[in-house]
C-alpha cells in the first residue's frame, strides 16, 4: 500500500471525528445518567483502555447494543462493537445466576416446555412474579413469554416435514428459540407462506440458540460455542446452495455480524445466504419470480416498528415494502425509536424503569396512531410493545400469511 492511503483501527474507532452525533441517538443516554454514552464508552474510552485496561468502566454494561449509534455515525465507526468488545476483553464482573437463566433461552425452553401449562401458570402468578422480583431481580412488571406445549420442531416433524418433499425449490429455516419454545405459530405461518410461494422449507441439522442473550450477559465462552456450532450447521446448508431464512432480526443480525465482529467466528461460509424471510420474499416478488394474491376481505390498520437490529441491518425496506403491497392495509411506518427491551435487558429489575423510559416515545406514537396491529420483526420488541401498549404485535410474515389468499397464491407459484 501507499503510505497513509487509508487508516485502519479496531471497529474503525479512529474514524471518530468527535462530532457527538452518536450521543444524540443513543436511547440510553437520556434515560440513564450512569451510562457514559456511546462516544465516551466507545471511541474515546478505547484510547484510554489501550493505554491501560484499568480504564475499563463496568458501566458499559448499560449499553443496549442496539447499534443506533452505528447507524447514526457519519464516520462509519462501529461504536457499539467497540463497547461490546471492550466488555468481552476487560469486564471482570461475572454473570449472576439470574443473568445466566435469562441468557440460556434454549436450555430454559427445553426444560420448561414439557411443563408449559404449569410453568406458564406459575410464572404468570403475581406471587411468582414477586418472588422472582425479590430473589432473582427479574422485574415484577414483566410478563414472562409463555412456553408452548409443543415445540415448533416437534410440530414440523409430525405435520409438515413430509409435505415439503413435493417442492423442487427449498429454503432452510433458522427458527430460533422463540419460535421453537414460545411461539410456534410464527414458524407455522412461515411454512404456510413459503409453501404458497412455491418453496419447500427444511429445518437445519440441529440449530442452537444464536447466543445473543449470552453475549449481552457476558457469557462469551458459551456464545462462542454456539457460534461455532451454528457456523457448521448454517455453512452446511449454505454449501448446498440453500438460502437460510429467519423470522427474527436479532438472531439474523447476531449470526450475520456479531459472530464475525465480536466473537471472531469466521462466518463467511454462510453469511451471504442468511437473510430475513421478508427480504427473500420481496426480492422474489420484485423480480417477478413470485406472485402474490391478496384476500379481498383483509382489512387492517397496521403500524410498523423498525427493531434496532433491523435498522442496523438496513433491511426494513423489505418488510415494509411487502406490507405496503397489502391492498387492505392502512399502513404507517413508526419513527425509528428503540422500544427499550433490548432482549434480556428490560427483564432485569435494575433496568425496568430505564427500559420503559427508553420506549416511551414509541409507545406514545403508537397510542396516537392507534393501529389495530403493530408489525415488527423482533420477538423481544413484541413482548415490550404488547406489555406497554396492550396492542397485538405480529411478525410481517404472519400478517402476510393472513392477508394473502394462500390457495390462490399457491396456484400461481408452482415452480417447475
Amino acid at each position: 500500500m501507499k503510505m497513509q492511503e487509508y487508516t485502519l483501527s479496531a471497529h474503525n474507532f479512529e474514524e471518530c471525528m468527535k462530532c457527538t452525533v452518536c450521543t444524540a441517538y443513543c436511547p440510553v443516554v437520556p434515560a440513564n445518567p450512569h451510562y457514559p454514552g456511546p462516544k465516551q464508552a466507545g471511541p474515546d474510552g478505547e484510547r484510554l483502555r489501550l493505554k491501560d485496561p484499568y480504564f475499563f468502566d463496568e458501566m458499559l454494561k448499560y449499553c443496549l447494543n442496539c447499534k443506533r449509534c452505528e447507524v447514526a455515525c457519519p464516520s462509519g465507526v462501529n461504536v457499539a462493537d467497540i463497547i461490546q468488545s471492550a466488555r468481552i476483553r476487560y469486564s471482570k464482573s461475572k454473570p449472576k445466576l439470574r443473568d445466566r437463566i435469562l441468557a440460556s433461552t434454549d436450555f430454559m425452553g427445553t426444560a420448561a416446555r414439557p411443563f408449559a401449562p404449569l410453568v406458564n401458570a406459575v410464572t404468570g402468578l403475581g406471587i411468582t412474579k414477586s418472588v422472582l422480583d425479590a430473589t432473582m431481580a427479574i422485574d415484577r412488571h414483566r410478563t414472562f413469554p409463555k412456553y408452548a406445549g409443543k415445540s415448533f420442531e416437534g410440530w414440523f416433524k409430525r405435520n409438515a416435514a413430509a409435505s415439503q418433499e413435493q417442492f423442487k425449490e427449498k429454503v432452510a429455516y433458522f427458527h430460533g428459540c422463540y419460535v421453537n419454545y414460545n411461539y410456534p405459530q410464527l414458524g407455522k405461518d412461515l411454512v404456510a407462506l413459503m409453501n404458497a410461494l412455491g418453496f419447500g422449507v427444511e429445518l437445519l441439522d440441529k440449530e442452537k440458540c444464536c447466543g445473543v442473550a449470552m453475549i449481552a450477559n457476558g457469557m462469551y465462552d458459551g456464545a462462542r460455542k454456539h457460534a461455532a456450532h451454528n457456523e457448521k450447521v448454517l455453512g452446511k446448508a449454505a454449501s448446498s446452495g440453500r438460502k437460510i431464512l429467519t423470522t427474527s432480526t436479532t438472531c439474523t443480525f447476531t449470526m450475520r455480524d456479531e459472530y464475525r465482529e465480536l466473537l471472531d467466528v469466521d462466518n463467511s461460509s454462510y453469511r451471504d445466504n442468511l437473510l430475513i424471510a421478508t427480504k427473500f420474499i420481496y426480492e422474489k416478488v420484485n423480480s417477478g419470480e413470485v406472485k402474490l394474491v391478496f384476500r379481498k376481505d383483509y382489512k387492517a390498520k397496521i403500524a410498523y416498528h423498525t427493531p434496532c437490529h433491523m435498522e442496523k441491518l438496513g433491511w426494513g425496506v423489505f418488510s415494509t415494502g411487502l406490507l405496503k403491497m397489502i391492498p387492505g392495509a392502512e399502513f404507517t411506518i413508526l419513527d425509528s425509536n428503540c422500544c427499550g427491551i433490548a432482549g434480556t435487558y428490560g427483564f432485569k429489575k435494575e433496568n425496568y424503569a430505564v427500559s420503559q423510559e427508553i420506549g416511551k416515545p414509541l409507545f406514545d406514537q403508537i397510542a396516537r396512531i392507534a393501529p389495530e396491529v403493530v408489525a415488527c420483526d423482533c420477538e423481544t420488541c413484541k413482548w415490550q410493545i404488547e406489555m406497554s401498549t396492550g396492542l397485538p404485535v405480529k411478525n410481517p410474515v404472519s400478517i402476510l400469511a393472513e392477508a394473502l389468499d394462500l390457495e390462490a397464491t399457491a396456484k400461481l407459484n408452482q415452480h417447475e
Binding site: Q4, K39, G76
Partner: protein, 399 residues
C-alpha cells in the same frame, strides 16, 4: 430495487433534491451513510457573504440564483420547516461567541437581525444552566457588551436537569433539549422572575428538538424580544430541520436508507446503471438518474491521501492543486485552499470523469468544487440551490 432516482447522501443537498423529486412524482431512494452536517448547523442558512464575488467555477454560475432563492422559503414550508429572512438580502445572527455573522435564511429559533447594530443600546438578560459548558455565556456577554449592549447573565438551576448532570459528558444541547421538552414552561416562569427591566432575553438553542411549537410558545410568553443563540454541536434546530425534511421525504413516498453506504457503482456507456450498498449486498439499487450528494471531507464525499484529493466512489474529476503544501494556509482563520476543492461538473451539474460528463450522474452540495463555504458563506446555499437545480435537471416537468 428500481427507483427513478437514487441519491447518495442524506444531508441538506440530498434531502432537498430527494424531496423535490418526490414532490414531482418521482420515486426516490436516498442512501445515507449516517447522519449529516445539519447536526452542526448554526441554525441559519448562508447563501453568500455580502460583497463576496462569485468565482467563475462556482456552482451558482450554473443556476438561476435569484429564481431559486425565491423558492427556498416555500419549498421548506412544504416540508414543515419555517424559514425566515429576506431571500435576496443578508441579515445578521448572533453567534455563540457573540459575533455578528451574515446569513440569509433563519430557522425558527434563530433570529434575523436587520442590522449589525440592532442590539446596540438594549439591555439583555442571557440565561443558561449551571454546568452547561457548550453555551458559553461569558463570551457571548462580553462580545455583546463590547458592541454596546448591556448584559446580565443568570444561570437557572432547575431540578429537572439534575439527573442529566450526573453524567459528566452528556450535558449536551440535544440532551438539555430533551429535558426542556418537559421543563420549558418552568424556564419561562423562572426567567420572568429574573427579569430586571431587560428588553431582550437570550436563550440557548435547546428548545423544541422535535417540534418548534415550543419555540413559538416561549416567544409568545414574553413581551420582550427572545433571542435564541446557538450552542456547540449537536445543533437542536439543525437536527429538527433534518428530521422534518426526512419525514416529509418519506411521507411523500421516498425511501430513506439510513446508516447504509454505497460501496460500488456499475457504469456502462457513460451512464450509471446501478449502485450496491453495504447492507443490501448483491441487491443493487437501479435508477434512471443518480445524484452524488455525499458531502465534503468530513462526510467522506471527498478524500485525501498524501498526494491527491479524490472522489472515492466514482473516481470523478476533482479540482485539487498539486503538492499537499499548496492545500493549506498556516493560519487557521484564513481561507484554506482545500475548501475550494471538489467534484467538477458540466453546466447541468453532471459530474465529470476524465473530462467527460457521466450522463445521468449529477453532483450537488458540498461535494462540488469551486465553493469555499467558509470564505464565501455559501455552504447551505450551495446545498439547497444545487439540490433544487439538480432535481429540476432530472425532472424538468413541473408537478
Amino acid at each position: 430495487m428500481k427507483f427513478d432516482t437514487v441519491i447518495i447522501g442524506g444531508g441538506l443537498a440530498g434531502l432537498t433534491a430527494g424531496l423535490r423529486l418526490q414532490q414531482k412524482g418521482k420515486s426516490v431512494a436516498i442512501v445515507s451513510a449516517g447522519q449529516n452536517a445539519l447536526h452542526f448547523s448554526s441554525g441559519t442558512f448562508g447563501v453568500l457573504n455580502e460583497g463576496a464575488e462569485i468565482p467563475e467555477n462556482h456552482p451558482y454560475m450554473k443556476l438561476n440564483l435569484e429564481g431559486y432563492l425565491a423558492e427556498v422559503i416555500p419549498f421548506f414550508a412544504s416540508a414543515g420547516v419555517v424559514l425566515k429572512g429576506n431571500p435576496l438580502k443578508n441579515s445578521w445572527r448572533i453567534t455563540p461567541m457573540g459575533k455578528r455573522q451574515e446569513a440569509r435564511f433563519f430557522m425558527e429559533d434563530a433570529d434575523p437581525l436587520e442590522g449589525k447594530d440592532t442590539l446596540i443600546g438594549k439591555k439583555a438578560l442571557v440565561v443558561s444552566f449551571p454546568g452547561f459548558l457548550d453555551f458559553n455565556t461569558s463570551f457571548l456577554a462580553a462580545s455583546l457588551e463590547k458592541s454596546g449592549t448591556a448584559v446580565r447573565i443568570e444561570l437557572l438551576a432547575l431540578p429537572e436537569m439534575d439527573r442529566l448532570r450526573e453524567n459528566p459528558s452528556e450535558m449536551r444541547s440535544v440532551n438539555v433539549a430533551r429535558v426542556m421538552d418537559r421543563a420549558w414552561n418552568k424556564v419561562v416562569s423562572e426567567v420572568k422572575l429574573l427579569l430586571k427591566g431587560e428588553d431582550v432575553i437570550v436563550l440557548p438553542q435547546v428548545f423544541g428538538l422535535k417540534d418548534s411549537a415550543i419555540v413559538s410558545a416561549i416567544r409568545e410568553s414574553f413581551d420582550q424580544k427572545v433571542l435564541f443563540v446557538g450552542t456547540m454541536p449537536p445543533s437542536v434546530p439543525g437536527m429538527r430541520t433534518q428530521m422534518k425534511l426526512k419525514q416529509s421525504f418519506e411521507a411523500a413516498g421516498g425511501t430513506f436508507l439510513m446508516g447504509d453506504e454505497v460501496l460500488s457503482a456499475e457504469i456502462s456507456s457513460e451512464r450509471v446503471v446501478s449502485v450496491k450498498t453495504r447492507n443490501l449486498g448483491d441487491h443493487a439499487l437501479e435508477a434512471d438518474a443518480f445524484i452524488l450528494a455525499s458531502g465534503s471531507y468530513f462526510s467522506k464525499g471527498l478524500s485525501a491521501t498524501t498526494e491527491e484529493v479524490f472522489e472515492p466512489l466514482f473516481g470523478l474529476d476533482v479540482n485539487f492543486s498539486e503538492g499537499r503544501s499548496s492545500w493549506y494556509d498556516a493560519d487557521f482563520y484564513s481561507a484554506q485552499p482545500f475548501n475550494n476543492f471538489g467534484v467538477m461538473t458540466d453546466e447541468k451539474f453532471r459530474a465529470l470523469k476524465e473530462g467527460k460528463p457521466v450522463l445521468n450522474l449529477y453532483a450537488a452540495g458540498s461535494v462540488l468544487g469551486g465553493a469555499d463555504a467558509l470564505r464565501l458563506g455559501c455552504g447551505a446555499g450551495v446545498a439547497i440551490l444545487s439540490g433544487l437545480a439538480v432535481a429540476d435537471a432530472i425532472a424538468p416537468e413541473s408537478k
